[in-house]
Amino acid sequence: MIEENVSLPRIHYLNSHYGWKSWLFTTDHKRIGLLYMVSITLMFFLGGFFALLIRLELLTPQADMFTADTYNKFFTLHGVILIFFFLVPSIPATLGNFLIPLMIGAKDVAFPRLNLLSWYIFVIGSLFTLWVVAVGGIDTGWTFYTPYSTTFANTHVIAATLGVFFTGFSSILTGLNFIVTIHKMRAPGLTWFRLPLFIWSLYATSIIQVLATPVLGITMVLIAAERFAKVGIFDPALGGDPVLFQHMFWFYSHPAVYIMILPSLGVVSELISAFTWKRVFGYKFVAVSSLMIAIFSFIVWGHHMYVSSMSIYAGMLFSILSYLVAVPSAVKVFNWTATLYKGSVSYDTPMLYALGFIGLFTIGGLTGLFLASMGLDRHLHDTYFVIAHFHLIMVGGAVMGYFGGLHYWWPKMFGRMYPEWWGRLSALIVFVGFNLSFFPQFIIGYLGMPRRYHVYAPEFQVLNVMSTAGSSILGVGYLLPLVYFIWSLRYGKVASNPWRAKGLEWETTSPPPPENFLEQPIVTEEAYNYPTRPAQPGKQTGKLTGGLNPPASPTATATGTGREAEVV
């Protein structure tokens, strides 16, 4: 639905300053969010390009496009770029940066200059990695397993690991900034259990970023040191332990998968609430479960190592803990479903993305249960089943959430709407393409096709062809939004709060003024306090005023009871 008679505010963060310097030296969290958005979009399409090349090679069982060496470099770059330079920063660095202060009623994040520094570090890290691509690539896989990476690979391992090391600092600084911001800068009256669920999930994510990323940094430095100076840490030829590397790597990388998915869970909670005009069912559980997931995520890394000669008893412990961490995730799905119950459900683009997310996240999560079972993982480990599982969760889940969030907050960021019909079409194409790409891979995996093969046994071909067909469809689904989003910046219909959603971020103008709120907002109610009608149909008790008309001035609604829905 599009609002009538709205106009853009005269001054907003986009037009308040001019020139490239005003962007590159900005300390405005909104502008930094956009800087991130531009950089990670570039990385997304670069990594996606490699994905298409990989899938094209796998169309036939023989190697007919690339040599083994080239293929290995492609899948490594695909993984390194998309994981470290897209999935990890995606939602926190773009939507998080843009929205945290707006959603908690603050002027900016706690350390604006640190925020800008994080972006520069991120850019340097990415350029470093792009340089590695240009000068010949790296072929270790994004997991950098030793002793292959320390002793045997003759590609640019040191440079690539340093690139990842750099970017890690960006992640840590962003997390630190968010934690302090959420603790210290909430508007008066905004207690913890009035916070939007998106803030809760980013808070949990930040904890992981701050605590886990240093371990990755250390591991990367140790690899570089071992390659460079031949210290014996991981290479058994030098007296090291190759399995130690896996422990250190997964101690970061398992929690890291939750860095990628938790923010998405938060976005989806926002979307489900905004498009049912209802409080998320079991708000407190959903909020606290993000924290529980974050904490549990630190103690399940061993489920990546059931067949690495780890002791059976350690394996059993990791297995049972993996199932424990799955409980809060499962319950979130039930809570979202229950939120639809008796809601006023509308199907705008963001909602379609959110529903698609639930589908992919459910399948991805349930297949995780297969892998967490020691008896089954002994067959499934390192096969295409694993590939399908984590793509559903991370690329399906995290990217659906990211796209849903972008569509939802686009009018907030730019004050204009994208064409709704095209938006829905893209959501549909992504969903179909996704399932066609990855569902066959579960079967290929159970049949026994190992991952990271550029040639394979002929009996796997039919399913591989299906998967490649799906990924081309998926590619189109991802490109569409790029086109219409850019189009909308100029030609999109002006909008302020087209969803009539609640939340502090919608209380100010779209796009927001440079200082977010002209007057300090005061919060008197919990998030998602939408009015409802009583159980018997027909009679409406409340009227949704929210953003039906754009606020004449942000002050009008930014004061105390102004946020209260007018209950008749």
Binding site: Y148, T337, S373, Y453
Partner: protein, 390 residues
């Protein structure tokens, strides 16, 4: 296993109808167990996903916004329902955990009578050595109906042994033995993959497992015999002069080795450990790391001087010291007769060159006459006969 058979059959029919492979062959004793768990989880998880999708569709249609101003209705979901959807999934999760752990646990240790085959992974091939010394590359011949245990080590990076038809999988790690075992249930040729990324030709580090009927396996063995692993290990043991210290004498400077494998060993630190393959391997390469109580740290380390295959032979020799005589009877006589130990109890002596190939397992071998010069040592009270290599 009735339901499982039905499900498997359904899967295979669907696969045939769609002309799609959906399900790998079941060719080991372990495979039906793994598949049973797979189908159980598939049924539960499939059921849950379908239920959720249907519910979402139902709500989505029933509660769609009909007028632009329609508000959500007041809804009440009973607390009991919330508890139910926490507890019921948790119970299912625990059943997945329990079943999976049980499967893994039950199959973690190979049966005692398993046929032991040594496996070395290296970029980019699989090398196998059968107990009687037959070697092969990227091909593994095994008998059907007999447990086979692979004792594996890598010469370079980490590899992973994966035979989908057997549903087994184990990493192959440099300088550390790992093992995996299986019992093939039907003759055939099956894929063997390396599933841990190991460099450029990773995708070509593949091979075949050829499961043969036992008599065919025997025929194959006879065709490829080259002298037993333990025998080659013994020759090496002597060549490297290990026998200079590990003499078995009362004043020997090194510990007594027969019967060592699988026994508890007390270390100088007071710690007691089990002498498994990895301990033996470490003691050869880096003897100073774990010193057996009562001995000085004087043994030279052989790290870097032996190939993985030579280490396998030495370990095989030490493992076989003190084993029952008939278990390592070679199929073909070794080329050069090795120095032979002597003792009153033939059951505890070493395999040597003069063992008759015609001797059948199970029969007690005739007492051999010690060659001139060999000094028979009386058996110590607890440890039986000490072999005395010269």
């Amino acid at each position: 296993m009735m339901p499982l058979t039905i499900l498997t059959t359904c899967f295979n029919w669907t696969a045939a109808a769609l002309r799609l492979p959906l399900f790998p062959e079941q060719a080991s004793a372990n495979a039906p167990n793994v598949d049973a768990l797979y189908f159980f989880m598939l049924a539960v998880c499939g059921g849950v996903s379908i239920a959720i999708v249907l519910l979402i569709f139902y709500f989505a249609v029933k509660y769609r916004r009909r007028t632009p101003d329609q508000l959500a209705e007041e809804a009440h979901v009973p607390v009991a329902l919330e508890w139910a959807w926490i507890i019921i999934p948790s119970l299912f999760f625990m059943s997945f955990f329990g079943w999976g752990a049980f499967l893994y646990f039950a199959d973690a240790k190979a049966p005692k009578d398993a046929l032991e085959i040594a496996c070395t992974g290296r970029q980019w091939m699989w090398k196998f050595q059968h107990p009687d010394g037959q070697r092969e590359i990227n091909m593994l011949h095994i008998p059907v109906g007999k447990p086979v245990k692979l004792v594996m080590v890598s010469e370079d990076v980490i590899h992973s042994m994966f035979v989908p038809a057997f549903r087994i999988h184990m990493d192959v790690i440099p300088k550390r033995y790992t093992e995996v075992w299986f019992e093939a249930t039907k003759p055939g040729t099956y894929h063997m993959f390396c599933s841990q990324y190991c460099g450029t030709e990773h995708a070509n580090m593949i091979g075949s497992v050829v499961a043969l009927e036992p008599h065919e396996y025997q025929t194959w063995l006879n065709g490829a015999a080259t002298g037993s692993l333990a025998l080659r290990g013994e020759a090496l043991f002597n060549k490297l002069a290990c026998n200079g210290c590990h003499t078995g004498d009362a004043e020997a400077r090194g510990p007594y080795l027969p019967g060592l494998y699988g026994r508890n060993v007390q270390l100088t630190t007071g710690e007691v450990i089990v002498a498994d393959e990895n301990y033996i391997r470490e003691s050869i390469l880096k003897p100073g790391v774990k010193i057996a109580a009562g001995y000085d740290n004087i043994m030279p380390g052989y790290d870097g001087q032996l190939t993985e295959e030579q280490i396998i032979e030495l370990v095989a020799y030490i493992k076989h010291l003190g084993k029952k005589y008939e278990q390592f009877e070679p199929v073909a006589p070794p080329t050069a007769p090795a120095p032979r130990p002597a003792g009153q109890n033939p059951d505890q002596t070493l395999p040597t060159g003069n063992v008759k190939p015609s001797m059948t397992p199970g029969t007690s071998p005739p007492a051999t006459t010690a060659p001139a010069g060999a000094v028979p040592t009386p058996p110590p009270a607890s440890e039986g006969t000490r072999p005395k290599p010269n």
